[in-house]
């Protein structure tokens, strides 16, 4: 298989088969929090995609070129979280300066992204899966962002319709969202084993 096929397969697998939200339970908090309206969900998804691509590639570089060379793997988690916090901070500053309108619409989501487990989770999974080239790591990170956006948008669409449904009182809000997520996860399980 050539490089392009590998990259394409990696992308599909992280978007659909190993979707971070449905199979690894990452990024559930924002998933429950902002999936109420589809436009907000999309904004959040884009912001996460941007940050996760940046930090996925950056943590890979730091891990492979600095930490492993220096034998400092034990400080990996501290470095990762600092890189992510830094990346979020950078994105925030850049947007505020050059794209004020985009910054306005992202505004509230940006600080939240630091504690989004999808991002740190992905960086850790890249390390766990022993991805050994930068390109694949970058594609995986981008795919993870797209997968998150997809999951959160599907959910937002369903929740907009749930508003019209007659949900038992005690299940309104988070519980019914979790149950819906469970059914979605069941649907996504159908993709497992697609790539061998």
């Amino acid at each position: 298989m050539d490089t392009l096929t590998i990259l394409l397969l990696a992308f599909i697998s992280i978007v659909i088969i190993n979707n971070l939200v449905f199979t690894k339970f990452l990024g559930i908090c924002p998933y429950l929090g902002v999936s109420g309206r589809i436009d907000m969900a999309f904004g959040m998804g884009l912001a996460v995609t941007f940050v996760v691509t940046l930090s996925g590639a950056m943590t890979w570089m730091i891990d492979h070129w600095v930490l492993m060379k220096a034998g400092l793997e034990v400080t990996r988690y501290v470095c990762f979280i600092l890189v992510i916090a830094g990346a979020v901070q950078l994105v925030e500053m850049y947007l505020r300066k050059f794209f004020p309108s985009l910054y306005e619409s992202f505004g509230i989501f940006l600080p939240l992204i630091t504690t989004n487990c999808a991002i740190l989770g992905l960086c850790l999974f890249i390390n766990l899966w022993e991805i050994d080239n930068l390109l694949e790591a970058a594609v995986l990170s981008f795919g993870a962002g797209i997968g998150f956006t997809m999951a959160i948008c599907i959910m937002a669409g369903i929740r907009e319709n749930l508003n019209l449904a007659d949900v038992p009182r005690c299940l309104r809000g988070a519980p019914i969202t979790l149950i819906t997520a469970g059914l979605l996860a069941l649907a996504f399980m159908g993709f497992a084993g697609m790539i061998r």
Binding site: M1, D2, I6, I17, N18, T23, V74, T75, V78, W129, D132, A192, G193, I195, R196
Partner: protein, 206 residues
Amino acid sequence: MSNIKHFFEQSWLLIVSSFFFGLLIAVANAAWSERIVQNEIDKRNRLMTDLIADANSFDVAAQAVEIPDTKAKVVKTDIYRALDGSGRTVGFAFIAVGSGFQDKIKLVIAVDGKCEKFLGFKVLASNETPGFGDKIKDSYFSSQFRDAPAGKLQLVKTGDDKKIDSEIVAISGATVSSEAVVKIFNTYIDTVREHLQTKGSAGNGK
């Protein structure tokens, strides 16, 4: 000058605590790292001892053997030699990795001292579906590998699971996981056998 002063005023706590936490982590690491390495070795040895009954001690027979993967990548693995009480080679074992139904499957595979027969496999790490894919750990499936000829294996849907040959009967409901295990065997065995037989490590102490 005032810039630098301002910088330190704002961030001295950050710098001091970074040093402090760095020290704390270093101490913890220094205290426990030996144990962590030992744990990994222990686990590997335990699994290998389960597979190779007469094994008493292990040493490394070959380091970082390059295995051509199906994805045009090269993976490296160490081959361990198992010795019995009197120092004879009774088998070899290596760690093999491949992609399963959901995630990677890590196996410990053992072959006999002449590298002619498999001695079976143990699952080091897998994330297969409970109740289906994780049946690869069950004896129905894993015993079929014991004493099978060390060469390419083939997966069949129906057949006699008691008969020991190169045909492996799949677990019903977990074809993908069964396939994955057989594929891992096939990816590794040729290179490992070649390595052991040409380098003359196999069959030495016999």
